[in-house]
Amino acid sequence: MFTPVLDSILFFMVSLPIVGWLAQKIGLNRIRDVYAILGFMLSGYALIGLYEEVSKSRIILIKIATFGPPLGACLVIDTLSIFMAFTFLLLSIFVSVYSVRYMEHETRVTEYYALFLGMVAGMIGVVFAGDFFTFFIFWELMCVTSYVLVAFRKELWAPIEAAFKYLIMSTFGSVTIFFAMSFLYGMVGTLNFAHLATSIRTVTPNYWLYLTIAMIVVGFGIKAAIVPFHTWLPDAHPEAPSSVSALLSGILIACGIYGLSRILILIFNPAQFQWGILVAILSVITMTIGNFMALLQSDVKRLLAYSSIAHIGYILVGVAVATETGLGGAFLHVFNHSLMKGLAFLCAGAFIHQAGTRKLNELAGIGRRMPISAFVFCVALLALLGVPSLNGFISKLILVKAAIEANASILAIVLVINSVFSAAYYLRIMQIIMLASPARKIAKVKEAPLAMVIPMCMMALLIVFFGVYPEPVTVFAEKTASAILNVQEFIKLVY
Protein backbone atom coordinates (compact mmCIF):
# COMPACT_ATOMS: atom_id res chain seq x y z
CA MET A 1 0.00 0.00 0.00
CA PHE A 2 2.74 2.46 0.99
CA THR A 3 5.57 1.06 -1.17
CA PRO A 4 7.36 -2.17 -0.13
CA VAL A 5 9.91 -0.29 1.99
CA LEU A 6 7.31 1.10 4.37
CA ASP A 7 5.00 -1.92 4.18
CA SER A 8 7.66 -4.37 5.32
CA ILE A 9 8.68 -2.19 8.28
CA LEU A 10 5.07 -1.63 9.33
CA PHE A 11 4.33 -5.36 9.01
CA PHE A 12 7.32 -6.26 11.16
CA MET A 13 6.36 -3.61 13.70
CA VAL A 14 2.83 -4.99 14.09
CA SER A 15 3.85 -8.65 14.11
CA LEU A 16 6.87 -8.27 16.40
CA PRO A 17 4.90 -8.43 19.69
CA ILE A 18 3.42 -11.79 18.62
CA VAL A 19 6.82 -13.13 17.66
CA GLY A 20 8.29 -11.83 20.93
CA TRP A 21 5.56 -13.57 22.91
CA LEU A 22 6.05 -16.85 21.05
CA ALA A 23 9.84 -16.58 21.48
CA GLN A 24 9.39 -16.14 25.20
CA LYS A 25 7.16 -19.23 25.30
CA ILE A 26 9.79 -21.32 23.52
CA GLY A 27 12.56 -19.79 25.59
CA LEU A 28 14.58 -18.47 22.65
CA ASN A 29 14.53 -14.72 23.26
CA ARG A 30 17.05 -14.06 20.53
CA ILE A 31 14.39 -14.78 17.86
CA ARG A 32 12.76 -11.38 18.34
CA ASP A 33 16.13 -9.60 17.97
CA VAL A 34 16.85 -11.48 14.76
CA TYR A 35 13.29 -10.80 13.59
CA ALA A 36 13.71 -7.04 14.07
CA ILE A 37 17.06 -7.01 12.27
CA LEU A 38 15.47 -9.04 9.48
CA GLY A 39 12.74 -6.38 9.19
CA PHE A 40 15.29 -3.64 8.61
CA MET A 41 17.29 -5.76 6.17
CA LEU A 42 14.19 -6.60 4.15
CA SER A 43 13.17 -2.97 4.05
CA GLY A 44 16.67 -2.01 2.96
CA TYR A 45 16.46 -4.59 0.17
CA ALA A 46 13.12 -3.13 -0.94
CA LEU A 47 14.72 0.31 -0.93
CA ILE A 48 17.27 -0.81 -3.52
CA GLY A 49 14.43 -1.80 -5.87
CA LEU A 50 12.71 1.51 -5.26
CA TYR A 51 15.97 3.36 -5.92
CA GLU A 52 16.26 1.76 -9.33
CA GLU A 53 12.69 2.75 -10.14
CA VAL A 54 13.30 6.34 -9.03
CA SER A 55 16.61 6.69 -10.84
CA LYS A 56 14.80 5.69 -14.04
CA SER A 57 11.86 8.11 -13.83
CA ARG A 58 13.41 10.62 -11.34
CA ILE A 59 10.22 10.97 -9.32
CA ILE A 60 7.23 8.67 -8.73
CA LEU A 61 3.72 9.16 -7.40
CA ILE A 62 1.88 6.51 -5.39
CA LYS A 63 -1.81 6.98 -4.66
CA ILE A 64 -2.90 5.58 -1.31
CA ALA A 65 -6.66 5.96 -1.78
CA THR A 66 -8.51 5.09 -4.97
CA PHE A 67 -8.80 8.75 -5.88
CA GLY A 68 -5.56 10.66 -6.09
CA PRO A 69 -4.52 14.27 -5.56
CA PRO A 70 -5.58 16.97 -4.78
CA LEU A 71 -7.80 15.48 -2.07
CA GLY A 72 -6.63 11.88 -1.78
CA ALA A 73 -3.53 11.01 0.20
CA CYS A 74 -0.45 10.22 -1.85
CA LEU A 75 3.26 9.49 -1.59
CA VAL A 76 5.73 11.30 -3.81
CA ILE A 77 9.17 9.71 -3.87
CA ASP A 78 12.13 11.50 -5.39
CA THR A 79 15.89 11.15 -4.95
CA LEU A 80 15.84 13.15 -1.72
CA SER A 81 13.35 10.74 -0.16
CA ILE A 82 15.48 7.79 -1.19
CA PHE A 83 18.61 9.44 0.19
CA MET A 84 17.00 10.14 3.56
CA ALA A 85 15.43 6.66 3.78
CA PHE A 86 18.84 5.16 2.98
CA THR A 87 20.41 7.17 5.82
CA PHE A 88 17.70 6.04 8.25
CA LEU A 89 17.89 2.37 7.33
CA LEU A 90 21.69 2.23 7.37
CA LEU A 91 21.89 3.59 10.91
CA SER A 92 18.92 1.47 12.02
CA ILE A 93 20.57 -1.75 10.87
CA PHE A 94 23.74 -0.93 12.82
CA VAL A 95 21.82 0.11 15.90
CA SER A 96 19.56 -2.95 15.85
CA VAL A 97 22.58 -5.27 15.70
CA TYR A 98 24.16 -3.31 18.54
CA SER A 99 21.01 -3.46 20.67
CA VAL A 100 21.05 -7.27 20.78
CA ARG A 101 23.70 -7.26 23.48
CA TYR A 102 23.17 -3.72 24.76
CA MET A 103 19.55 -4.31 25.74
CA GLU A 104 19.89 -7.93 26.93
CA HIS A 105 19.62 -7.06 30.64
CA GLU A 106 16.51 -4.92 30.14
CA THR A 107 12.97 -6.13 30.55
CA ARG A 108 10.40 -5.35 27.82
CA VAL A 109 12.84 -5.79 24.94
CA THR A 110 9.97 -6.84 22.65
CA GLU A 111 8.30 -3.49 23.17
CA TYR A 112 11.64 -1.81 22.57
CA TYR A 113 12.02 -3.38 19.13
CA ALA A 114 8.39 -2.72 18.20
CA LEU A 115 8.75 0.96 19.10
CA PHE A 116 12.09 1.14 17.32
CA LEU A 117 10.55 -0.23 14.12
CA GLY A 118 7.61 2.15 14.56
CA MET A 119 9.90 5.15 14.88
CA VAL A 120 11.85 4.27 11.75
CA ALA A 121 8.58 3.59 9.88
CA GLY A 122 7.38 7.05 10.91
CA MET A 123 10.56 8.66 9.70
CA ILE A 124 10.49 6.89 6.34
CA GLY A 125 6.82 7.85 5.97
CA VAL A 126 7.69 11.47 6.64
CA VAL A 127 10.25 11.56 3.86
CA PHE A 128 7.95 9.73 1.40
CA ALA A 129 4.83 11.81 2.07
CA GLY A 130 3.37 13.73 -0.85
CA ASP A 131 0.77 15.72 1.01
CA PHE A 132 0.74 17.51 4.31
CA PHE A 133 -1.76 15.23 5.96
CA THR A 134 0.13 11.98 5.30
CA PHE A 135 3.19 13.85 6.46
CA PHE A 136 1.49 14.81 9.72
CA ILE A 137 0.28 11.29 10.51
CA PHE A 138 3.71 9.74 10.00
CA TRP A 139 5.24 12.66 11.90
CA GLU A 140 3.10 11.86 14.90
CA LEU A 141 3.90 8.13 14.65
CA MET A 142 7.58 9.06 14.81
CA CYS A 143 7.08 11.51 17.69
CA VAL A 144 4.95 9.31 19.93
CA THR A 145 7.20 6.26 19.63
CA SER A 146 10.23 8.43 20.38
CA TYR A 147 8.59 9.79 23.56
CA VAL A 148 8.08 6.27 24.82
CA LEU A 149 11.61 5.24 23.84
CA VAL A 150 13.12 8.17 25.75
CA ALA A 151 11.13 7.14 28.84
CA PHE A 152 12.05 3.50 28.31
CA ARG A 153 13.81 3.07 31.68
CA LYS A 154 10.77 4.23 33.59
CA GLU A 155 12.03 2.91 36.91
CA LEU A 156 14.51 5.84 37.07
CA TRP A 157 13.41 9.43 37.64
CA ALA A 158 15.65 11.12 35.07
CA PRO A 159 14.24 9.52 31.87
CA ILE A 160 10.69 10.30 32.98
CA GLU A 161 11.50 13.93 33.63
CA ALA A 162 13.35 14.27 30.33
CA ALA A 163 10.63 12.49 28.39
CA PHE A 164 7.88 14.63 29.89
CA LYS A 165 9.76 17.77 28.91
CA TYR A 166 10.30 16.34 25.44
CA LEU A 167 6.64 15.35 25.11
CA ILE A 168 5.32 18.78 26.01
CA MET A 169 7.74 20.68 23.78
CA SER A 170 7.59 18.36 20.83
CA THR A 171 3.80 18.08 20.89
CA PHE A 172 3.64 21.85 20.99
CA GLY A 173 5.78 21.84 17.84
CA SER A 174 3.58 19.30 16.07
CA VAL A 175 0.43 21.21 16.95
CA THR A 176 2.03 24.41 15.64
CA ILE A 177 2.68 22.65 12.33
CA PHE A 178 -0.94 21.48 12.35
CA PHE A 179 -2.11 25.06 12.90
CA ALA A 180 0.04 26.22 10.00
CA MET A 181 -1.56 23.43 7.93
CA SER A 182 -5.00 24.85 8.74
CA PHE A 183 -3.92 28.26 7.43
CA LEU A 184 -2.57 26.75 4.25
CA TYR A 185 -5.80 24.80 3.85
CA GLY A 186 -7.80 27.98 4.36
CA MET A 187 -5.85 29.73 1.64
CA VAL A 188 -5.73 26.97 -0.97
CA GLY A 189 -8.40 24.40 -0.13
CA THR A 190 -6.13 21.36 -0.28
CA LEU A 191 -3.07 20.06 1.51
CA ASN A 192 -1.27 18.45 -1.41
CA PHE A 193 2.30 19.77 -1.60
CA ALA A 194 2.22 20.30 -5.36
CA HIS A 195 -1.12 22.13 -5.33
CA LEU A 196 -0.02 24.30 -2.40
CA ALA A 197 3.18 25.08 -4.28
CA THR A 198 1.42 26.18 -7.48
CA SER A 199 -0.97 28.42 -5.56
CA ILE A 200 1.46 30.00 -3.12
CA ARG A 201 4.74 30.28 -5.04
CA THR A 202 3.41 33.05 -7.29
CA VAL A 203 1.48 35.27 -4.84
CA THR A 204 2.99 38.34 -3.24
CA PRO A 205 3.84 37.74 0.41
CA ASN A 206 1.38 38.97 3.02
CA TYR A 207 1.18 38.82 6.81
CA TRP A 208 -0.71 35.53 6.89
CA LEU A 209 1.92 33.82 4.80
CA TYR A 210 4.70 35.22 6.97
CA LEU A 211 2.82 33.99 10.05
CA THR A 212 2.56 30.55 8.45
CA ILE A 213 6.29 30.52 7.70
CA ALA A 214 7.03 31.51 11.29
CA MET A 215 4.82 28.71 12.60
CA ILE A 216 6.44 26.16 10.30
CA VAL A 217 9.92 27.25 11.37
CA VAL A 218 8.93 27.01 15.04
CA GLY A 219 7.32 23.60 14.59
CA PHE A 220 10.17 21.99 12.71
CA GLY A 221 12.69 23.99 14.73
CA ILE A 222 11.54 22.28 17.90
CA LYS A 223 12.10 18.86 16.33
CA ALA A 224 15.42 19.85 14.79
CA ALA A 225 16.57 21.52 18.05
CA ILE A 226 17.29 24.94 16.57
CA VAL A 227 18.49 27.08 19.42
CA PRO A 228 15.66 29.01 21.01
CA PHE A 229 13.67 25.74 20.92
CA HIS A 230 16.46 23.30 21.78
CA THR A 231 16.01 22.86 25.53
CA TRP A 232 14.47 19.37 25.31
CA LEU A 233 17.40 17.87 23.45
CA PRO A 234 20.18 18.00 26.07
CA ASP A 235 17.82 16.29 28.53
CA ALA A 236 16.14 13.73 26.28
CA HIS A 237 19.19 12.47 24.38
CA PRO A 238 21.37 11.57 27.37
CA GLU A 239 18.56 9.99 29.39
CA ALA A 240 17.39 7.61 26.66
CA PRO A 241 19.18 4.24 26.32
CA SER A 242 22.33 4.82 24.25
CA SER A 243 21.06 2.94 21.20
CA VAL A 244 18.00 5.20 21.19
CA SER A 245 20.13 8.31 21.64
CA ALA A 246 22.12 7.30 18.58
CA LEU A 247 18.87 7.15 16.61
CA LEU A 248 17.47 10.36 18.04
CA SER A 249 20.66 12.30 17.49
CA GLY A 250 21.58 10.76 14.19
CA ILE A 251 18.33 10.64 12.29
CA LEU A 252 15.35 11.99 14.22
CA ILE A 253 16.57 15.57 14.23
CA ALA A 254 17.38 15.13 10.55
CA CYS A 255 13.63 14.70 9.99
CA GLY A 256 13.13 18.22 11.33
CA ILE A 257 15.72 19.50 8.84
CA TYR A 258 14.06 17.53 6.05
CA GLY A 259 10.62 18.96 6.83
CA LEU A 260 11.95 22.49 7.10
CA SER A 261 13.87 22.44 3.85
CA ARG A 262 11.28 20.48 1.85
CA ILE A 263 8.32 22.64 2.81
CA LEU A 264 10.07 25.99 2.74
CA ILE A 265 11.68 25.35 -0.63
CA LEU A 266 8.70 23.69 -2.27
CA ILE A 267 5.86 25.89 -1.06
CA PHE A 268 7.52 29.19 -0.19
CA ASN A 269 9.77 30.36 -2.97
CA PRO A 270 13.11 31.42 -1.40
CA ALA A 271 13.55 34.28 -3.85
CA GLN A 272 10.16 35.74 -3.03
CA PHE A 273 9.73 35.16 0.68
CA GLN A 274 13.33 35.81 1.82
CA TRP A 275 13.21 33.28 4.65
CA GLY A 276 16.91 32.62 4.08
CA ILE A 277 17.89 35.47 6.41
CA LEU A 278 15.79 34.06 9.24
CA VAL A 279 17.32 30.60 8.84
CA ALA A 280 20.83 32.08 8.56
CA ILE A 281 20.44 33.99 11.85
CA LEU A 282 19.07 30.87 13.53
CA SER A 283 21.98 28.80 12.21
CA VAL A 284 24.59 31.22 13.59
CA ILE A 285 22.92 31.25 17.01
CA THR A 286 22.48 27.47 16.98
CA MET A 287 26.06 26.54 16.25
CA THR A 288 27.55 29.11 18.63
CA ILE A 289 25.35 28.22 21.60
CA GLY A 290 25.72 24.49 20.92
CA ASN A 291 29.50 24.71 20.98
CA PHE A 292 29.67 26.95 24.03
CA MET A 293 27.34 24.75 26.05
CA ALA A 294 29.20 21.60 25.01
CA LEU A 295 32.36 23.05 26.51
CA LEU A 296 30.80 23.22 29.96
CA GLN A 297 29.62 19.60 30.20
CA SER A 298 31.05 16.90 32.42
CA ASP A 299 28.80 14.11 31.11
CA VAL A 300 29.80 12.33 27.89
CA LYS A 301 26.30 11.91 26.47
CA ARG A 302 25.21 15.42 27.39
CA LEU A 303 28.30 16.79 25.67
CA LEU A 304 27.50 14.79 22.53
CA ALA A 305 23.91 16.08 22.68
CA TYR A 306 25.11 19.70 22.67
CA SER A 307 27.48 18.86 19.84
CA SER A 308 24.43 17.65 17.86
CA ILE A 309 22.92 21.11 18.29
CA ALA A 310 26.10 22.66 16.90
CA HIS A 311 25.97 20.30 13.91
CA ILE A 312 22.34 21.25 13.25
CA GLY A 313 23.66 24.79 13.01
CA TYR A 314 26.17 23.73 10.34
CA ILE A 315 23.44 21.94 8.38
CA LEU A 316 21.20 25.02 8.54
CA VAL A 317 23.90 27.06 6.77
CA GLY A 318 23.25 24.92 3.70
CA VAL A 319 19.48 25.30 4.04
CA ALA A 320 19.79 29.06 4.48
CA VAL A 321 21.68 29.65 1.25
CA ALA A 322 19.25 27.28 -0.58
CA THR A 323 21.47 26.78 -3.62
CA GLU A 324 22.24 23.44 -5.18
CA THR A 325 25.70 23.24 -3.57
CA GLY A 326 24.33 24.37 -0.23
CA LEU A 327 21.53 21.83 -0.08
CA GLY A 328 23.86 19.10 -1.35
CA GLY A 329 26.27 19.93 1.46
CA ALA A 330 23.46 20.07 3.99
CA PHE A 331 22.07 16.64 3.11
CA LEU A 332 25.55 15.17 2.84
CA HIS A 333 26.20 16.49 6.33
CA VAL A 334 22.93 14.92 7.51
CA PHE A 335 24.19 11.55 6.23
CA ASN A 336 27.68 11.99 7.65
CA HIS A 337 26.35 13.28 10.94
CA SER A 338 24.12 10.23 11.29
CA LEU A 339 27.17 7.98 10.99
CA MET A 340 29.49 10.06 13.17
CA LYS A 341 27.10 10.92 15.95
CA GLY A 342 25.51 7.48 15.86
CA LEU A 343 28.94 5.92 16.31
CA ALA A 344 29.88 8.37 19.09
CA PHE A 345 26.69 7.55 21.01
CA LEU A 346 27.12 3.81 20.49
CA CYS A 347 30.67 4.01 21.86
CA ALA A 348 29.48 6.07 24.82
CA GLY A 349 26.84 3.36 25.31
CA ALA A 350 29.55 0.68 25.28
CA PHE A 351 31.47 2.58 28.00
CA ILE A 352 28.31 2.92 30.06
CA HIS A 353 27.41 -0.74 29.53
CA GLN A 354 30.83 -1.91 30.72
CA ALA A 355 31.82 0.71 33.29
CA GLY A 356 28.38 1.73 34.60
CA THR A 357 29.09 5.46 34.63
CA ARG A 358 28.96 8.34 32.18
CA LYS A 359 30.79 11.04 34.11
CA LEU A 360 33.86 12.07 32.15
CA ASN A 361 36.20 12.11 35.15
CA GLU A 362 35.12 8.60 36.17
CA LEU A 363 35.72 7.32 32.63
CA ALA A 364 39.29 8.67 32.63
CA GLY A 365 41.72 6.28 31.01
CA ILE A 366 39.09 3.81 29.86
CA GLY A 367 40.95 3.63 26.54
CA ARG A 368 43.51 1.39 28.21
CA ARG A 369 40.80 -1.06 29.28
CA MET A 370 38.59 -0.93 26.16
CA PRO A 371 41.05 -0.19 23.35
CA ILE A 372 38.81 -0.97 20.35
CA SER A 373 35.78 0.99 21.55
CA ALA A 374 37.95 3.93 22.57
CA PHE A 375 39.74 3.91 19.23
CA VAL A 376 36.52 4.01 17.18
CA PHE A 377 35.20 6.67 19.57
CA CYS A 378 38.22 8.79 18.68
CA VAL A 379 37.55 8.22 14.97
CA ALA A 380 33.99 9.49 15.49
CA LEU A 381 35.15 12.53 17.46
CA LEU A 382 37.80 13.44 14.88
CA ALA A 383 35.19 13.12 12.13
CA LEU A 384 32.83 15.37 14.10
CA LEU A 385 35.65 17.83 14.46
CA GLY A 386 36.19 17.79 10.70
CA VAL A 387 39.67 16.37 10.33
CA PRO A 388 40.60 15.84 6.65
CA SER A 389 40.39 12.25 5.36
CA LEU A 390 37.31 11.62 7.53
CA ASN A 391 33.81 12.18 6.20
CA GLY A 392 32.86 15.19 8.36
CA PHE A 393 35.49 17.27 6.61
CA ILE A 394 34.04 16.77 3.12
CA SER A 395 30.56 17.99 3.98
CA LYS A 396 31.82 20.94 6.02
CA LEU A 397 34.03 21.93 3.10
CA ILE A 398 31.05 21.83 0.72
CA LEU A 399 29.00 23.91 3.15
CA VAL A 400 31.74 26.56 3.42
CA LYS A 401 32.10 26.61 -0.36
CA ALA A 402 28.34 27.02 -0.80
CA ALA A 403 28.19 29.89 1.69
CA ILE A 404 31.01 31.74 -0.09
CA GLU A 405 29.45 31.13 -3.52
CA ALA A 406 26.13 32.56 -2.31
CA ASN A 407 27.82 35.78 -1.12
CA ALA A 408 27.26 34.87 2.51
CA SER A 409 30.90 34.84 3.56
CA ILE A 410 29.94 35.78 7.09
CA LEU A 411 28.20 32.40 7.45
CA ALA A 412 31.30 30.64 6.14
CA ILE A 413 33.52 32.51 8.60
CA VAL A 414 31.25 31.71 11.56
CA LEU A 415 31.15 28.04 10.50
CA VAL A 416 34.93 27.77 10.33
CA ILE A 417 35.46 29.60 13.64
CA ASN A 418 32.92 27.35 15.34
CA SER A 419 34.46 24.28 13.83
CA VAL A 420 37.89 25.23 15.17
CA PHE A 421 36.39 26.17 18.51
CA SER A 422 34.75 22.76 18.84
CA ALA A 423 38.24 21.20 18.86
CA ALA A 424 38.48 22.37 22.47
CA TYR A 425 35.98 19.87 23.79
CA TYR A 426 36.51 17.02 21.34
CA LEU A 427 40.23 16.96 22.07
CA ARG A 428 39.52 17.25 25.79
CA ILE A 429 37.40 14.07 25.74
CA MET A 430 40.04 12.27 23.68
CA GLN A 431 42.73 13.28 26.14
CA ILE A 432 40.64 12.08 29.10
CA ILE A 433 39.59 8.81 27.48
CA MET A 434 42.89 7.78 25.94
CA LEU A 435 45.74 9.38 27.85
CA ALA A 436 44.72 9.88 31.48
CA SER A 437 45.71 7.17 33.92
CA PRO A 438 42.81 4.80 34.63
CA ALA A 439 40.65 5.62 37.63
CA ARG A 440 40.41 2.94 40.30
CA LYS A 441 36.70 2.46 39.66
CA ILE A 442 37.24 1.10 36.16
CA ALA A 443 40.21 -1.15 36.95
CA LYS A 444 38.29 -4.36 36.16
CA VAL A 445 36.43 -3.14 33.07
CA LYS A 446 36.68 -5.41 30.01
CA GLU A 447 36.19 -4.77 26.28
CA ALA A 448 32.59 -4.66 25.09
CA PRO A 449 31.03 -7.87 23.65
CA LEU A 450 31.74 -8.70 20.02
CA ALA A 451 28.15 -8.08 18.87
CA MET A 452 28.52 -4.47 20.01
CA VAL A 453 32.04 -3.95 18.70
CA ILE A 454 31.36 -5.24 15.16
CA PRO A 455 28.70 -2.64 14.17
CA MET A 456 30.84 0.07 15.75
CA CYS A 457 33.90 -0.98 13.75
CA MET A 458 31.87 -1.14 10.55
CA MET A 459 30.58 2.38 11.10
CA ALA A 460 34.13 3.60 11.73
CA LEU A 461 35.21 1.93 8.50
CA LEU A 462 32.40 3.68 6.62
CA ILE A 463 33.46 7.01 8.14
CA VAL A 464 37.02 6.54 6.92
CA PHE A 465 35.85 5.16 3.56
CA PHE A 466 33.58 8.11 2.81
CA GLY A 467 36.32 10.46 3.97
CA VAL A 468 38.93 9.04 1.61
CA TYR A 469 36.63 8.24 -1.30
CA PRO A 470 33.59 10.54 -1.04
CA GLU A 471 32.47 10.43 -4.70
CA PRO A 472 29.53 7.99 -4.31
CA VAL A 473 27.82 10.02 -1.59
CA THR A 474 28.72 13.47 -2.92
CA VAL A 475 27.26 12.60 -6.32
CA PHE A 476 24.17 11.16 -4.62
CA ALA A 477 23.83 14.30 -2.48
CA GLU A 478 24.13 16.56 -5.53
CA LYS A 479 21.34 14.57 -7.18
CA THR A 480 19.18 15.03 -4.08
CA ALA A 481 19.82 18.77 -4.10
CA SER A 482 18.82 19.08 -7.73
CA ALA A 483 15.73 16.93 -6.97
CA ILE A 484 14.56 19.18 -4.13
CA LEU A 485 15.16 22.33 -6.19
CA ASN A 486 13.40 20.91 -9.23
CA VAL A 487 9.97 22.09 -8.10
CA GLN A 488 8.42 22.20 -11.56
CA GLU A 489 8.92 18.48 -12.08
CA PHE A 490 7.30 17.75 -8.72
CA ILE A 491 4.28 19.87 -9.63
CA LYS A 492 3.97 18.45 -13.14
CA LEU A 493 3.97 14.89 -11.84
CA VAL A 494 1.08 15.42 -9.46
CA TYR A 495 -1.09 17.46 -11.83
Partner: protein, 77 residues
Protein backbone atom coordinates in the same frame (compact mmCIF):
# COMPACT_ATOMS: atom_id res chain seq x y z
CA UNK B 1 1.47 18.72 34.92
CA UNK B 2 -2.06 17.69 34.04
CA UNK B 3 -2.89 21.31 33.27
CA UNK B 4 0.16 21.55 31.02
CA UNK B 5 -1.08 18.55 29.06
CA UNK B 6 -4.59 19.99 28.90
CA UNK B 7 -3.06 23.17 27.50
CA UNK B 8 -1.64 21.13 24.64
CA UNK B 9 -5.05 19.52 24.06
CA UNK B 10 -6.72 22.94 23.95
CA UNK B 11 -4.10 24.15 21.47
CA UNK B 12 -4.82 21.16 19.25
CA UNK B 13 -8.54 21.85 19.50
CA UNK B 14 -7.90 25.41 18.38
CA UNK B 15 -6.19 24.04 15.28
CA UNK B 16 -9.14 21.71 14.63
CA UNK B 17 -11.59 24.56 15.02
CA UNK B 18 -9.53 26.62 12.61
CA UNK B 19 -9.79 23.82 10.04
CA UNK B 20 -13.56 23.58 10.43
CA UNK B 21 -14.10 27.32 10.24
CA UNK B 22 -11.98 27.63 7.12
CA UNK B 23 -13.86 24.78 5.47
CA UNK B 24 -17.28 26.33 6.14
CA UNK B 25 -15.99 29.66 4.89
CA UNK B 26 -14.94 28.18 1.57
CA UNK B 27 -18.18 26.42 0.75
CA UNK B 28 -20.69 28.87 2.19
CA UNK B 29 -21.99 26.98 5.20
CA UNK B 30 -21.46 23.37 4.16
CA UNK B 31 -18.44 21.61 5.65
CA UNK B 32 -15.84 20.34 3.21
CA UNK B 33 -15.56 16.56 3.83
CA UNK B 34 -11.79 16.83 3.37
CA UNK B 35 -11.46 19.05 6.44
CA UNK B 36 -13.88 16.77 8.22
CA UNK B 37 -11.67 13.71 7.75
CA UNK B 38 -8.55 15.62 8.71
CA UNK B 39 -10.09 16.85 11.94
CA UNK B 40 -11.36 13.38 12.83
CA UNK B 41 -7.93 11.85 12.29
CA UNK B 42 -6.28 14.68 14.20
CA UNK B 43 -8.57 14.07 17.17
CA UNK B 44 -7.48 10.42 17.21
CA UNK B 45 -3.82 11.44 17.08
CA UNK B 46 -4.35 13.93 19.90
CA UNK B 47 -5.99 11.20 21.93
CA UNK B 48 -3.00 8.93 21.74
CA UNK B 49 -0.53 11.68 22.46
CA UNK B 50 -2.59 12.57 25.52
CA UNK B 51 -2.66 8.93 26.60
CA UNK B 52 1.14 8.71 26.43
CA UNK B 53 1.38 12.01 28.31
CA UNK B 54 -0.92 10.79 31.06
CA UNK B 55 1.09 7.58 31.40
CA UNK B 56 4.19 9.70 31.80
CA UNK B 57 2.50 11.89 34.41
CA UNK B 58 1.56 8.74 36.33
CA UNK B 59 5.18 7.56 36.30
CA UNK B 60 6.41 11.02 37.28
CA UNK B 61 4.00 10.99 40.20
CA UNK B 62 5.43 7.67 41.37
CA UNK B 63 8.94 9.17 41.44
CA UNK B 64 8.29 12.67 42.71
CA UNK B 65 5.06 12.26 44.73
CA UNK B 66 3.72 15.53 43.34
CA UNK B 67 1.94 16.86 40.28
CA UNK B 68 3.64 20.26 40.45
CA UNK B 69 5.70 20.61 37.30
CA UNK B 70 7.99 23.13 39.00
CA UNK B 71 9.34 20.32 41.16
CA UNK B 72 10.61 18.46 38.07
CA UNK B 73 13.82 20.41 37.78
CA UNK B 74 16.56 18.05 38.79
CA UNK B 75 17.98 17.98 35.24
CA UNK B 76 19.85 21.21 34.64
CA UNK B 77 22.59 22.29 32.25
Amino acid sequence: MVKLLLGIVILANAANLSFISFSTFRYGGAIDPFAHTIVLMAIVIEAFVTAVGLAMILNAYRHYRTLDVRKLRKLRW
